[in-house]
Amino acid sequence: MRLLAAALSLVAFSATAEEVTTYQLDNGMDIVVIEDHRAPVVVHMLWYKAGSADEPVGSSGVAHYLEHLLFKATENVESGEFQRVVAENGGSDNAFTSFDYTGYFQRVAADRLPLMMQYEADRMNNLVLTEEDIVTERGVILEERNQRVENSPSALAREQMRAAQYLNHRYGVPIIGWKHEMETLDMDDALSFYDLYYSPNNAILVVAGDVQPDDVLALAEQYYGPIPAEPDLPERIRSQEPPQTAERRLVFEDPRVSQPYISRTYIAPERDADAQKDAAALTYLADLLGGSSFTSVLPIALQFDANIAVYSGAFYDGLNLDDGTFGLTVVPADGVSLQEAETAMDAAIEAFLDEGIDPARMDALRVQLKASEIYARDDVGGLARRYGAALTSGLTVEDVQAWPEILQSVTADEVLDVARRVLVRDQSVTGWIVPSREVLQ
């Protein structure tokens, strides 16, 4: 205990914000520059405000499919050339697709930035696909789905749970797509998504590393500046969730499941521009309930005070454009039924809401969140992702920079208040993932 007190008084540092400069080009492209001069390296990221939740009905997976196709030929560049050039320059590159964004990045020596911009700007507008690209790359994404989803019972169960969680919002459809729709994706699907969304007024450029902001702006004007804005870019309106008024429960059965478990998700508010307090409180709630295997509510109740579970945890990520989820997982111990484990989980949450929060736990989490800002500065690529994900999810640079302070200001009462609003069974999906219904007998 002496150690604990000493520690809390010691951690009195201030988390200095990273050096960030922002610009906007005349064609509407936003630019974020994060300086880190420790190593002569730069991360060049281009984010599009277009993800799987922006896809037209019937073509799920097209955002991710297009991400793959962007490595094919353009009017000026051979298929695979950009990746080859990155590699020949010692760099690494990749791309990613989420519900709300698609992003492309390269990590190279800082003096190669112009070359990266030249290629990335080129493929924003000049993609030339062949029928062969369409067929072979569709085979690749189907194998990717096989690898990530079809071969993984827990991934298949997550898909079923999300589909049940969202009554009206596109977040209920998997990012990689439903298999039967992926099989029908064609040239028109890919190009119509590309023509509409891959435009400078729908893009955010994040450059992080050993660069001067003015230089980045000049290069961006040179390479991205001439690309015209898309006049028909639609407003980003998705069908929103109605009030959820009925608990959903499902049993997912797959003989490949060796360890039965319970997964519960609740619909939960995300970080909104100028309104991040609920999301900050939910961040604490996840940590308090299940962020630590030793000091959180569920592990203490289910793994230490009683031998009910071998694992328990809680999850929340507030970075979405629309409502996200708050999740709980419990893996029962040998000989404990799923019903017994779920009852114990709910009892532990009930007790947490009744008894309130130990102020020492809030203090400890504040210290950890503050320290995590110091550690985060060691990974400039991570900082770049933080800005890219936020700016494509409806937040501003000011929101990103205010977030650490908002986290510090969260009170125990605010955590309990948001917990009572979010941890409501009528807004939840509970999944029992089992090898066979026989284990339920």
Partner: protein, 436 residues
């Protein structure tokens, strides 16, 4: 236009391909060697400790002891039980990771400058005075057993376990470091104390540190941290050959996509031809989408999301392995293409262009590895554990550049043997059967 820019970029590479870190070699007052990269712009330190031996030191019948022991180091030490220890660690905002591997155990610590004394005192207790409380053993053992049962239904794990057993038999490399349900169920508190005694010896430690700390401070820190560990260490196991011949082993498993793990014997890390082999692997299956296998299996035919190969020079054997996954009705074709590419590379080797491109990539990417305190600390300890000197960082690109086309093509013919390549396929592959 684009070609022109590219030419300029290539000529720049040679000039800038130098890792810009300065490694200090220090010896602690009690005689432990350590490498340090000072970087004071962010107030924290990353420390990596690697102890040679690892799970190869599991005693007969005690498979999984080293792994369970490492998982229990964060579960209480000195005056603190598991929750007390973790509460103290969380309040310091320090991170300690304890990892068991085939050839070593490692400790990765990240902690703030301002409370480094408290963080190191806590880590010292975990390393030197672990409690192995029975309640903690029971709880963590249940987690390990749950993981072993899950692995038994995971196609990738099944493939790995099958290949290891066929290739290495009774040698420790022939079984998973987690142990079996039976061996883990039988482990006692005394077994864990013994595994701890065997795994942690100052005679076998390699220390890397990066961040906000001075050389003299680090020496004192190391002695405080490691003083109390034994300086003697048990014997290490014998070298073992990869005993599996060419062919195919099918492990039936109901799943839509077959997973294949394949390989044959490889090359030692300190072999004079290692860099040639390293370049061959880079071109054949090492470098992401750019490799020959990715081009033939994925880009041209759409048969897989990923295929890759890797040289695995362990302390007591050397293998050359690869992996691929394809739908059950397409895996046979994927494997046929891989076999053909293996044979082609063995027969004809690389082109000068491929060699040049691989060298440019490998020399250009090397400096980019030294990115962040934790990465640097890990690299520093890792280099020492494979017997490299600090000058390696400066000279490594010259070793790559010195490899000639004649070298790589001679080594390709020696290293790659399509007839000895064995595929373990887990799934319901169409048109594939276990060979005799």
């Amino acid at each position: 236009m684009i070609r022109f820019v590219l030419a300029i970029a290539l000529s720049l590479t040679a000039a800038t391909a130098r890792a810009q870190i300065e490694i200090q070699e220090i010896t602690s007052p009690s005689g432990v060697d350590a490498w340090l990269v000072e970087e004071d712009s962010i107030p924290f330190i990353a420390l990596e400790l690697i102890f040679d031996g690892g799970a190869t030191l599991d005693l007969p019948g005690k498979r999984g002891a080293t792994n369970l022991m490492m998982a229990l180091l964060e579960e209480g030490s000195g005056d603190l039980d598991a929750r007390g220890f973790q509460e103290a660690r969380e309040n310091l905002a320090a991170s300690f990771r304890f990892n068991a591997g085939d050839d070593s155990v490692s400790v990765s610590a990240v902690f703030l400058t301002e409370n480094q004394d408290e963080a190191m005192a806590l880590l010292r207790d975990a390393l030197v005075s672990p409690r192995f409380d029975q309640s903690a053993i029971d709880r963590v053992r249940a987690q390990v057993l749950s993981g072993i049962r899950s692995d038994a239904n995971d196609p990738n794990r099944i493939a790995g376990a099958t290949l290891d057993a066929l290739a290495f038999g009774d040698h420790p490399y022939g079984s998973a470091i987690d142990g079996t349900e039976d061996s883990v169920a039988g482990l006692t508190q005394a077994d864990l104390f013994e595994a701890h005694e065997n795994a942690f010896s100052t005679a076998r430690v390699h220390v890397g540190a990066a961040g906000d700390i001075r050389a003299d401070e680090l020496g004192v820190l190391i002695d405080d941290l490691l003083g109390g560990l034994p300086d003697e260490a048990p014997e290490l196991p014998d070298h073992v050959e990869f005993a599996l011949d060419g062919g195919t082993t099918v492990v039936p498993f109901e799943t839509p996509q077959s997973v294949a793990l394949f390989g044959h014997s490889g090359i030692e890390r300190d072999d004079e031809d290692f860099f040639a082999a390293f370049i061959i692997n880079e071109v054949l299956g090492g470098r992401g989408v750019e490799s020959r296998l990715m081009r033939e299996v994925r880009e041209k035919r759409g048969l897989t999301y990923g295929v890759s190969t890797f040289l695995v020079p362990k302390d007591f054997t050397e293998t050359y392995l690869g992996q691929v996954a394809s739908a059950n009705d397409r895996i046979a074709e994927a494997i046929a293409v891989i076999r053909d590419e293996w044979a082609l590379m063995a027969r004809e080797g690389l082109s000068q262009d491929e060699l040049d491109a691989a060298k440019t990539y490998l020399t250009g990417s090397y400096p980019l590895r030294f990115d962040g305190n934790a990465e640097i600390a890990g690299i520093l300890a890792g280099m020492q554990s494979v017997g490299l000197g600090t000058d390696y960082v400066a000279n490594r690109n010259d070793f790559i550049t010195a490899v000639t086309l004649e070298d790589v093509n001679r080594v390709a013919a020696e290293l790659l043997d399509p007839d000895r390549l064995h595929f373990v396929v887990v799934g319901q592959p169409e048109g594939l059967e276990t060979t005799e």
